[in-house]
């Protein structure tokens, strides 16, 4: 009843092509953004630092993977490594240029990731599907090997880890390092994630995004009607790796504060892939759903189960989470391959015709 577009007429091309053509959607987005901005004024530091910041960063990384896998149809298992490229290049950049604002460097470091992503995307011109997944797996292992074996990347630290130095910006606000408050870090992360989501949304709506989707749906047909696979596939790899690189740099600089090469191991790639699958391949909002679900599930289990009287050990929560996520992935792949985003879409469609059960 509330969610109905009756009476909303589009009288111009702009209105028809708007990102959110329905009024309720526009209001909804505004409300979500307002809540996102308001959260730090109410939430504790733990909620900000351990739930909200990683949630946003993972959502961005999932968007990166989704551009490649969900929209361009190129399966990738190298997400973790591309995030690592972003993190390590941001670390190198900030040691070379300590006076440059760290946010600029985070955004720049994605370019290195994009370059490397394109190199590893080259095989996609010849091979597809599972075979491509294996070449991206090679990227994962090769890059991880580099992070361990090239001491220049971590400035010859004895520990082999990159440690985030303190950086300030905007007139002395501490942005990174242990003295940076979760409050500040949250807003930086939120701003970058929102801005990048809007940009990606618009890329996807336009010519480039459509050519990706054409390649995904049927590459030969797409080629016949004028989409150049080389440009389309490599641009998908570039954009995807850029986003993952920025997410990786943010992960180290605004969340963890230091990282070893193992932080970008294959398990991270899988984690992001699971978020994309559960949230919904080929959906931006699904990235946020997937990230929220997988990241928050253990926390929620730990809080809720004891409160309903089930005393549960820390390790059991871990096992439970693994089992639940594993089962859900199988379930979603069988029952609803488009993930939580599709459920949300169905709910919206039902709401439009409510109270009548037919569409």
């Amino acid at each position: 009843m509330l969610y109905r577009e009756a009476g909303q007429f589009k009288t111009s091309y702009e209105a028809d092509q708007a990102v959110f053509p329905i009024l309720q959607d526009r209001i909804g987005v505004m409300v979500i953004l307002a809540v996102a901005v308001a959260i730090p004024f109410f939430a504790s530091n733990f909620v900000l630092a351990s739930i909200m910041i990683p949630f946003l960063i993972f959502a961005l990384a999932t968007i990166g993977l989704n551009v490649l896998t969900g929209y361009a149809g190129q399966l990738s298992l190298g997400t973790g490594a591309f995030m690592g490229v972003g993190a390590y290049s941001c670390y190198k950049l900030t040691t070379f240029f300590p006076d440059v604002n760290i946010i600029v460097l985070v955004l720049l470091s994605g370019l290195f990731s994009a370059g490397i992503g394109m190199v590893f995307g080259l095989p996609s011109l010849r091979i597809k599907g599972l075979y491509l997944a294996v070449t991206t797996l090679a990227a994962q292992f090769f890059l991880e090997w580099c992070f361990i074996r090239i001491p220049w990347l971590y400035n010859y630290n004895h520990s082999g880890a990159i440690e985030v130095p303190e950086r300030t910006g905007f007139g002395g606000v501490v942005l990174t390092g242990p003295a940076a408050t979760p409050f500040v870090r949250y807003f930086v992360v939120l701003a970058i994630v929102v801005a990048m989501t809007i940009i990606v949304k618009n890329i996807l709506r336009g010519r480039i995004g459509r050519s990706w989707m054409m390649i995904r749906d049927m590459d030969i047909a797409a080629e016949l009607i004028g989409v150049r696979p080389l440009v389309a596939k490599l641009s998908a790899f570039a954009v995807s790796s850029y986003i993952c690189g920025v997410a990786g740099a943010m992960m180290v600089f605004f969340w963890l504060g230091a990282a070893e090469a193992s932080a970008f191991a294959i398990s991270l790639s899988f984690q992001i892939l699971f978020m994309a699958i559960l949230g919904g391949l080929g959906s931006l909002i699904g990235c946020f759903f997937g990230s929220a679900f997988i990241w928050a599930l253990p926390v929620v289990l730990r809080l809720v189960l004891p409160s309903v009287g089930i005393q549960i050990g820390a390790e059991t929560v871990e096992h439970l989470t693994q089992m639940i996520i594993g089962a859900l992935i199988i379930l979603f792949l069988i029952v609803e391959p488009h993930g939580l985003a599709r459920l949300w879409q169905i709910a919206k469609e039902k709401l439009r015709v409510w109270p009548f059960p037919y569409a």
Binding site: S50, H158, L256, E260, S307, A314, E315, E318
Partner: protein, 439 residues
Amino acid sequence: MRLRKSLLGIAAIALAGGFTAEAYAQDTVYIPLLSYRTGPFAGSGIPIANGMSDYLNLLNERDGGINGVRIVVEECETGYDTQKGVECYESVKAKNPLVINPYSTGITLQVIPKAAVDKIPVLSMAYGLSASAIGEVFPWVFNPPATYWDGASAIIKYISEREGGLDKLSGKKIGYIFLDAGYGREPIPLLEQLAKDYGFTLLQYPVPAQEMQNQSSQWLNVRRDQPDYMVMWGWGAMNPTAVKEAVKIRYPMDKFIGVWWSGGDDDARAGGEQAKGYKTVNLQGVGDGFQAIQDIKKLLVDTGKSQTPASMLGENLYNRGVYNSVLMAEAIRVAQEITGKKVIDAADMRIGLENLEISEERWKEIGLEGFAPPIKVTCTDHNGHHPVYIAEWDGQKWVQVSEWFAPMTDVVQPLLEAAAKEYVAKNAPWPARTEECRQ
């Protein structure tokens, strides 16, 4: 419909109940344990976690806490994963912890810079950043009883003694197999320095974390290179695999020496009968013959208040966990004495750790006579570089085969100071120490 409504109602009530904050009694202190009972490192993590929580619970159970202050012990599962470790750190931070035990070099490295800002002491017992032994630079980090560099130098010292002197090391080949992470890489600068000083060749065999259970290629190289001695810096699933592989290539087990974290009973047991002779540097006594361990058995294990199976009591890593908790408990006691408060906070705990002293008599008093050498930590030296010994696997259990001996502190100390300086330079602006040294 009615059923569904009532179920929803129950869920809502239960949820609402969950948000009423747990109220702790006034005279308690809170100690979180970052443990890992899951994942590829669980094999080492479980005995450690059991030992740590058992000793603290024993103090609650037997003595009613420390000077009447009960300890609230809570585990947070990290899975040896740095991300989860940081999450655990953030989540326990809100509950005013006395001290953080990261129990992972990776997590320790992340927590070190945070600790100084959040004013929470970090106890990284014989792991983590070796340079954090320098108290002037790292007032909030403690790593007694010995650093990795002490461990590496002790192993080289032991080898040289077997060979008949440091000058006999020249021309020897020493293999170093390590977990390719911050933990395993930490001793390399020292070993390289020693190799240069004494003329032996250091052969490195890194084992990436995801390859821990597949070390055939590394051991193929070991077989080719025929090193005179093998030194191991492994953890979790890496250790039993390495022992098995060493047995498989018939490497003389007698010349295979692990660091103290590679000395789990299950690690050695994996090699079967042929693992006899495998050695480890050790920090504390093994076996369940100590009074305190017997008390744990009587009061906790036999009454079902512990997660520990009786067979695990007294194992090497279990006792290491106990040692870790002894350090915390004694630091609390010292802090209580110095500050005169009963319920101390994290800042007091730091003072307690900085004045930590466990004499031989004190070891006896707490029911652990001969468990470890006397411990002394000072404001400048947060480590102490205490003596260690070599234990050998006899097929069933670890037995002490050397006297307690001191690591090469003279070699280690200048390196530590240089490393601390380097750390400060790389992490500029690193705050200067403002905490006064209270005695």
